[in-house]
Amino acid sequence: MALPSYASPLERVWHYAYLAGCAAIFFFLIAPIVVIIPLSFNAEPYFTFTDRMLEFDPEGYSTRWYSSLLTFGMQDPEATGWAFWSDAWANANWVKAAKNSIIIGVCSTIVATGLGTLAALGLSRPEMPYRRAIMAILISPMIVPLIITATGMFFFYSNPCELLTLVGLDPQCGRLAGSYLGVILAHATLGIPFVIITVTATLVGFDQSLNRAAASLGANPRTTFFKVTMPLILPGVVSGALFAFVTSFDEVVAVLFIAGPDQQTIPRQMWNGIREQISPAILAVATLLVIFSIALLTTVELLRRRSERIRGVTPR
């Protein structure tokens, strides 16, 4: 990208204008995410920089919105010591939402990663029939608009046995809507395309002769899988799992349609907060989520490098 020494003055101007333009676009990408971090320490309930903040007056800054995350919904915010923490753990809305998000995220990630990895192994075999069509079906939860998916799930989870009545059965089964199982299955469905995509991408570079070598040395298919295949594709599986987890952790639409009041997740709580009583507490949550996404991004990047190193792909 360096400017050649023979560049004409016009080309120089153009080159620097181009770099300035790129800098502006990077600013557009990052600034909205960064700007909320200082605003979350605003002492006033405003969404803008107060004069005191701009003067760097310590009075203008406060962590009150962070502590309000703990106390919001508590029975006795005045309690001290152990009672305070147990109350926050049991009752505070944001804490409950975080617990739910983690439970639902982890369970749906396990389902999505397990099924998705198996399917990716099958899909990457050369003899797989109808590969393209099946792949298109399995990726479709990512492509179909979320509102359509959520609407379909809304009816299905309200009465999951309705389908069986079509074939003449009249089974009794409960609602999945408003249950943890329902939300977990829905989120697993939405996370599966990401697992498929990342794991098949890892398997493209996988050398099948390693499996044959293991077999020729007397390993049975299971040993081959756990001792040879799995360690090599593990980085892909883990990053697929992370994608699935983030999908679940960030998902609102399906939760709005099928979750009950007990399955309040962080995004749903944020959604309610934005629509009803908007307060800078939302920005405190947002800041925590940004820190969380930085941690995830770092993990994925490290995994990618490790994967390339194991497979002997030198980073370009």
Partner: protein, 433 residues
């Protein structure tokens, strides 16, 4: 087998099997060709069995529920199931037949039965979809006739409410007397049926769906174009910088990609509102006066800005992965042959980026067409998309058949785009991060 000795492979196979017959056989004496077919079939089956659990899972939790939901767009038995006698009369008579005494008797019997079974609300709601304002006609009549009704039915019903004589109402009831109907699709294209059953456009101020579809596609196209304009230079810069520095800048693209959608939408709400940071800066710079703060949110501007920001990484990443593979010597060769840098870009570099551009544009457009959260939060009423209308029918007006019809049209559009995407790019070439 004269030339078997000349074919080294055959020689090996025959020696291995130890049989000197004409066919090539495996060690245990089976014909080789058949054994090969069988082992291939077994391998195919094994591969398919690995995929099967997930395929079943997706079919049960995703494909079938959506199909089931879509059947509501053309199947609604709210009227026909609860008003059997008048439905039967409609089935026996021609379209356009004025209601005779038999029809009034059937209607009165059904109304009484439905009022007693407390299903009159469902019936009224179904008719209300096609003829707004009629739900109360059914419910109020139902309250008065509960427990029975005396003949003459026509005169008595007309006495309760003379709207029962409206030929348009009878035409709408005829439409609703079969559970299968195309009316919800007509309505989603701003069409309706008049009393003779002919299709016509609804009045001008009620034509909302066509506007909404048009707006959805238009805004998605604008957003796709904006992501291209902003994403192309970035992808180019990342692809041409040395790896170490481009990796560092890549983080600036990936961080928004990994940040929660709600966080990014919230940030834009904070930035763009009238007392927000952007307006503050503009006032401070003196671009606008303190009293003329710009309305940049709760309208189309808000939707466009926030969605462009959210979808930009989906344009940059495919463009980047294609640009990395473009050999820089082609551009240098063009320059050395006398092309200006603009010509070299236009004739040599840009055509090679088209696969990435196609992939990115399709992806952004598909995602934008179905967007719900961001327009719902920052779009106001003029930045609303078709998804928001579907949600409105699902949770607000509870007209589920209408929601299903709109969803079917949207899904159809997305599936066509997806099919094109698969043709152009191939879904298995989709890359993340």
């Amino acid at each position: 087998m004269a030339n078997a000795a000349l074919d080294p492979h055959a020689a090996i196979a025959t020696t291995a099997s130890g049989v000197g017959s004409g066919l090539l056989t495996t060690e245990d004496g089976k014909p080789l060709a058949r054994a090969l077919v069988r082992s291939q079939r077994r391998a195919r089956k094994r591969a398919f069995l690995l995929v099967l659990p997930l395929l079943v899972f997706i079919l049960v939790t995703f494909v079938v529920p959506i199909g089931q939901m879509l059947t509501r767009s053309f199947h609604n038995d709210g009227f026909s199931a609860n008003m059997p006698q008048v439905s039967a009369w409609f089935a026996e008579t021609e379209r356009g037949t004025p209601p005779d005494e038999a029809a009034w008797t059937a209607l009165a019997t059904d109304l009484v039965a439905s009022a007693d079974a407390r299903s009159i609300g469902v019936v009224g709601t179904r008719i209300n979809y096609d003829m707004p304002g009629t739900r109360s006609l059914f419910t109020s009549t139902g309250r008065q006739v509960r427990g029975g009704m005396e003949p003459p039915y026509q005169a008595n019903l007309l006495e309760i409410n003379e709207d029962w004589g409206d030929p348009r109402l009878w035409s709408v009831m005829r439409e609703a007397s079969t559970p299968l109907t195309a009316n919800f699709y007509l309505a989603s294209m701003d069409r309706t049926r008049d009393e003779t059953g002919a299709i016509q456009q609804v009045e001008e101020q009620q034509r909302i769906y066509a506007t909404l579809f048009w707006r959805t596609f238009w805004l998605s196209a604008v957003i796709t174009a904006l992501t291209f304009i902003l994403g192309f230079p970035i992808a180019h810069l990342l692809a041409t910088l040395p790896m170490r520095r481009s990796n560092l800048l890549m983080i600036l693209v990936l961080l928004p990609f990994w940040t929660s959608l709600l966080v990014r939408t919230t940030s834009w709400m904070v930035l763009l509102q009238q007392q927000g940071v952007v307006n503050d800066i503009l006032v401070w710079l003196g671009v606008i006066g303190g009293s003329q703060r710009l309305q940049m949110i709760y309208n189309q501007t808000g939707t466009i800005i926030a969605m462009t920001h959210i979808l930009l990484p989906f344009m940059i990443l495919p463009l980047y992965s294609v640009m990395r593979t473009i050999n820089p010597t082609y551009v240098r060769a063009a320059r050395s042959l006398g092309a200006t840098s603009w010509t070299a870009f236009r004739r040599v570099y840009f055509p090679q980026t088209l696969p990435g551009l196609g992939a990115g544009a399709m992806l952004v457009f598909i995602l934008a067409v179905g967007y719900y959260i961001t327009p719902a939060l920052v779009g106001g009423s003029s930045g609303m998309l078709i998804s928001n209308m579907i949600a409105q029918h699902m949770t607000g007006t509870l007209n589920w058949s209408m929601a299903a019809a709109l969803a079917a049209l949207l899904l159809g559009a997305v599936l066509v785009l997806y099919w094109v995407y698969d043709r152009l790019v191939g879904v298995d070439n989709l890359k993340l991060g």
